[in-house]
Symmetry: C2
Subunit: 431 residues, 2 copies
């Protein structure tokens, strides 16, 4: 029986995991797919690099063309990263009728629609489960498991690096810079951590999730993003004091046919299930009109979990090959994109500010909120060491983003306010 032949672009940690899983699970793969599976060629940067597992040197190549143009290769697995040249490789592979598995969220967030369209046009599969949350089968859950339901909201922790950092900062009171260094030493953060800590990685994943969950083409630029770099020990202390846990939360919500997609540090009630997802773990809450709430939880990254997702996608592709039905699973979006305006996005907010310490200031500030019909759920007023200053920490009731931003702008211009120290969205206690 003819084996299915794989070309691998990249042999970093995920690529190595893929090689090992395919080699170690030949029986299981054979049982599921009905024919042998072999890796034919692997694109690497350096053929002579020492690797911690055995690999036939003849399988390695420095030229992507040897994979893309090899008529014997059925499926290309892309785990090399990068965007522009990677996209060109994959487009060429698709035009050569090769099926694609990718773990590349940057690529999918930017060019997912274009690649999927080209794949469908060429009768090829393009699967990308591993691009969202390492080992959690969330995309399949959204597409198949909740196929008949109307998803109204997805809320999740979709970046392992920032969750690791926030967990350590909250638990041990360590400052951001120190925990970042630890995360880098442990391999949980890149030497350039920008994409993670500024929320871009999470934003890419939320764009992919929203596109699938709402059947609407959401671009990366539609996601409003704020990272974790400005979170202070004081913010975490006040959060705790008010019964909240700080997490970097991605939210995609839909009201009627209008959606909002955002990533930002968010306060959740301590008892909320997402508040208890710690370290490098990820979890995504999905709210469906019929099903209610479901959650998918698992490792958000890591060589083997991500490789597991890649090989699961490979199994799906190979089953489709045996059945002759590739290229039929990517449905074009059902709805036109329609984003909520700031006066349609509602949330509670945490606000910490330093004000002039004199009689009547508090009343003047609360009056400003009242003018915009925003009321308070919690208020703390505390003396601080700085001369002539008092600190106010408050949590509002639900307000529109537009009203809240108007209030912030007026506070900034108000002579009684010395400093707006921080503000965060508060979620998860709608009751």
């Amino acid at each position: 029986m003819k084996a299915i032949s794989i070309g691998l672009l990249g042999l970093g940690t995920v690529g190595s995991g893929v090689v090992q899983i395919i080699n170690n699970h030949q029986d299981k793969l054979m049982h599921q797919v009905g024919c042998p599976v072999k890796i034919k060629k692997i694109l690497v940067k350096n053929i002579d690099k020492a690797r911690d597992f055995e690999i036939d040197r003849n399988m390695l190549t420095l030229s992507a063309d040897e994979i893309i143009d090899d008529p014997e290769i059925d499926v290309v697995i892309e785990v090399m990263g990068g965007v522009e040249s990677t996209k060109e490789y994959l487009l060429r592979a698709i035009r050569n009728k090769k099926h694609i598995i990718t773990a590349n969220k940057d690529l999918m967030a930017l060019y997912g629609s274009e690649l999927l369209e080209e794949a469908t046009h060429n009768g090829c599969d393009l699967f990308y489960e591993a691009s969202v949350a390492g080992g959690i089968p969330i995309l399949r859950g959204l597409v198949d498991g909740l196929a008949s339901d109307r998803i109204t909201k997805m809320m999740g922790i979709v970046n392992g690096t920032t969750n690791f950092i926030l967990t350590k900062m909250s638990k041990y009171g360590s400052p951001y810079e120190e925990v970042l260094t630890e995360a880098q030493q442990l391999g949980y953060a890149e030497s350039d951590p920008t994409a993670d800590v500024e929320g871009l990685d999470a934003a890419r994943k939320m764009a992919i999730l929203a596109t699938l969950g709402f059947s609407m083409k959401i671009d990366l630029s539609d996601v409003s993003v704020k990272g974790i770099t400005s979170i202070t020990k004081e913010d975490l202390d006040y959060s705790k004091r008010l019964g909240y846990t700080m997490k970097l939360i991605g939210i995609a919500s839909r009201t009627d046919e209008k959606v909002e997609v955002s990533v930002q540090p968010t306060l959740l009630p301590e008892a909320h299930p997402l508040a208890n997802v710690n370290d490098e773990y990820n979890a995504v809450y999905v709210y469906g009109e019929a099903v209610g709430e479901t959650m998918f939880y698992g490792p958000g990254a890591g060589s083997l979990p991500t490789a597991t997702s890649v090989v699961s996608d490979l199994v799906m592709t190979m089953k489709n090959m045996r059945l002759g039905v590739n290229g039929r699973s990517a449905a074009a979006p059902q709805f036109e994109k329609c984003l909520k305006k700031p006066d349609e996005v509602y949330s509670k907010y945490f606000l910490r500010l330093h004000v002039k310490d004199e009689v009547g200031v508090f009343a003047k500030i609360t009056t400003l909120f009242a003018k915009h019909s925003v009321s308070f759920e919690k208020i703390l007023q505390l003396p601080i060491k700085e001369k002539d200053s008092a600190e106010i920490v408050l949590v509002t009731h639900r307000a529109s983003l537009q009203d809240y931003e108007n209030i912030l702008n007026q506070l900034k211009d108000n002579a009684l306010v010395h400093n707006i120290k921080s503000t965060y969205r508060v979620e998860g206690d709608e009751a």
Copy 2:
């Protein structure tokens, strides 16, 4: 374009949910499947019964034959329950080349293999996602999401009724009988709650999960079962005192190629994620060699969540119909069944017993454990009101089931032991 035609066996709560989802989501279904979907006939017990939604009386029938023998009907959805006659209906429907969706765990646990074989033989799909955990897409996660991984353990809360009861008993200290009555009033427990509270419902689901997850035909009779009816307030109080939460836990674990499947009240450390799954919710932890731990969480029952699963299976079947590839997804088990013997099942145990209150008793009892090489992790000894008695509560280190049962038998025969009050498995703190 020709519509796909559905026959529905049963119009109880789940059946009603299915009708409403299909009627309310015509656009979404059409978008996913590419053709209209209509329900043609529904088997009911009483045509004139008042229903809380509108339904065309002409669709209702008292005769299953009108569905099973109707050549126009493509898919039969079975939500009527029952085992023997239901099995005959479905076998006949399959022989008439109809695809089957069922939410019936009793049926699948007993006759799943036979039905799946007949379906494959006739080129028909048979899907049963809704039979395991209401709205959680766990079966798809096991089959597709973790396709390439080797699952070593599944541990879960798979019965909503008992989880509701144990949650209330633990939280409010209410006795079992009182909470059961409340659960019945709220519709969370049947008027005859035996299948739920004796653990049979959970056992059926674990048999289905183990069969799929381990690719090995596990029968209901292979599952060792203990229910929750003998759990007392004292047991719950001691659990709490020792830092544990009591849950009815289904475990399916595999060591090399030997498996153990069981359902029993189990103590979990309070911080364990399953310890925090409350009320009628379900959750299943899945451990894979490559992926590590993942969890699926959601409503365990309920009309709409279960109906969502049913309609998701329907979407899958209809997609397969459009592609002409029905009847290919049920893989026969890969492995011969091989169950662990009692000396191969390892766990920690909680034991509460009343002993004679005299000098040296404690030493004699601990010596008995030592003879079987079982040591202790935690011990409490307390005075009690009964004359001449003391109470001992202990948690062992990991021991084989065989050693532990030998110890229990010797304790029963020992004149110093007045009474073995209770014993439970302890899981989730392997570290």
